[in-house]
Symmetry: D2
Subunit: 205 residues, 4 copies
């Protein structure tokens, strides 16, 4: 089984990502349970604006989209700005949406039998709003959202340090939720391997 | 199997509910597939504000909460006001949240192995915002959110008629989504009957 | 000039409200500047569900609505549950919306020349989402939203103490924003006293 | 006086924008009232991800930011994808936020005495959610939000034509709101020309 982490930091991979640090708590569980995990720092790619599968002219979304297609588990990671998910996360969701008309061999959306989760870090407030947005988008386009798959760390109201400097890894709530998320994502992905969602009332024709 | 429809109209059952009319499209599928369906018009009950399981002094939430506990499938229905779910829907979610610390025999939240969906009608704009709010709440407290379980009807921007008068039942998108929602809710509920979510990394101790 | 604080705690005034405690930072400024401030604990009243000005049968909304009509400044206070404003706050907004068709002597919505702000406390995450909802509702029905009129305190992610116990009054960001909010609300209210919004392109006929 | 329209379509100006078409209803009022109006199609520019004023390496945000600084009125336009504002709109708000620490000669945020509005078109549902997000961001960083400055057109639930093809210009609600928005934006901008917001309790030191 494969887990794909789409890290939607505004920064490319030359810089450290706080969201990455929290994801690693989930990744540990993935590895323990024999699930491969690949991280994509989305800002490393040149992704075009648009809703088609491939916008051409050097659009690198198809590279990422191939990884999504191959994944059983997709976790989107995002920082918070003004209490919302990042522009990079918004772009990724638009592009995922643009692919939601593609169907599997049963005629369901290609995202059926995939499960989604979300990891959020910010210096303060906005995590549940971002989680709400990402998980709804997942469900609306065909992913399954298991229980308790939103994991986040934010500090007290106002300016302050981010996850790594604030030692967010000592926050039992955030770390515990990362682990619960991983376990539930694995369980559901395995369940779909064994029993895919039947094509009844949910095909696109 | 049992489906429970919590209709969070501002009106009690002496008045016709548009949201009810759209839910009936899903209910038809429930009946065809042998799933019992019960509708609760929440405004018929005297539900207290608060986060405990029973606020006392005539609080009738425990009556509804017992029905939630017995259900495999919970669908929340809501109208739209200013582009958001109703105050009654907000109250129901607060009360569901208040019960999320209760555990099943494995130590998981009592909502594990239950599936949730949402039905929304309004004369105009706001449905996806309300769906986002309700489905996130479900997932955050332990429900599973299958793919494509948000069903809605809204008219064009501005004042206008509601679902029934506007003949929303002729809208293939809304009716089709109601049916897809029902099928996916049934499938997942059956799946959990056969294979409950294992207690691994997701218990509350 | 009059400021009205609509405290939408789930608790009635027999219990201490954290949101009240943060509002007091703004109230101090109101008093220094000669603005009267009245606090209404909404849960003390029996407010019906509905969109009319008076739902009858003991509906006490008209008592509060008279206070709104007489106020220059309206501040809505709310706690957070699942990262959203309370059911009581949702109810108040529905009822304010229900009155938005009433016009002043110029034919504008009765809320023209009134200014709105918001105070939020919660043990964790959700403040900006609640602020977004309340301030948008205000603007959409006729209130003016000055800059920096959202004031909040929340703690670090996860379970934790609320504003009073956590000594949120030591948080310079939260307290400073309460004071800025008060100053800007006063300034705009005075401006509208001197120069009401002209009836040009904004009347309801 | 100057109005700036930041059109956050995913398409560059080689393609027709529905949001542009609705904005033109407001622009007519701007011109009648002697307000200059400039439209920027944001997707024509190469805007970097980040929170600084200038991310370097060909970042063209400073070109747009100079226009924002010179404007009295800023209207953000956005399409809807999955019921939310576009990634381009999210990017613009991040960049505006990145400039919110710059102060005017009084020490207030540079956005003080500027007013903001929003224009949204989509084939269906999501407008109020996008308006809520944009207007809150404006208010939170220093803009004033007058009453009734959210203008939108969306069609009935489900797939369908966009504003131009659907003849949205025949929708009195959408067109009327565009005009009301324009009038209120002009009035407030004039008011701030005559009486800027005093530096009392709202400076950044």
């Amino acid at each position: 089984m494969k887990a794909l982490f789409l890290n939607c930091s505004l920064k490319d991979s030359n810089e450290t990502s706080n969201t990455d640090a929290l994801y690693k708590e989930a990744e540990t569980i993935f590895h323990e349970e024999g699930v491969e995990s690949e991280t994509v720092r989305v800002a490393d790619y040149n992704i075009a604006y648009g809703i088609s599968e491939d916008e051409g002219k050097g659009d690198e979304w198809p590279i990422i989209f191939d990884k999504v297609k191959a994944a059983d588990i997709v976790v989107l990671g995002t920082p918070l700005w003004l209490g919302e998910k990042s522009s990079v996360a918004t772009l990724v969701i638009e592009r995922l949406y643009g692919g939601s008309g593609i169907t599997n061999e049963k005629g369901q959306s290609i995202y059926y039998n995939k499960v989604g989760g979300v990891v959020i870090t910010g210096n303060e407030d906005g995590a549940k709003n971002a989680a709400r947005s990402v998980l709804y988008a997942f469900s609306h386009i065909g992913f399954t959202v298991p229980p308790n798959v939103d994991t986040y760390w934010v500090g007290e109201a106002g300016p302050g340090e981010s996850y790594i400097k604030a030692e967010g890894q000592k926050n039992d709530f955030s770390v515990g939720h990362a682990k619960t998320m991983a376990h539930n994502l694995i369980h559901f992905a395995q369940m779909f391997r064994n029993n895919p969602i039947p094509a009844k009332g949910n095909t696109m024709e």
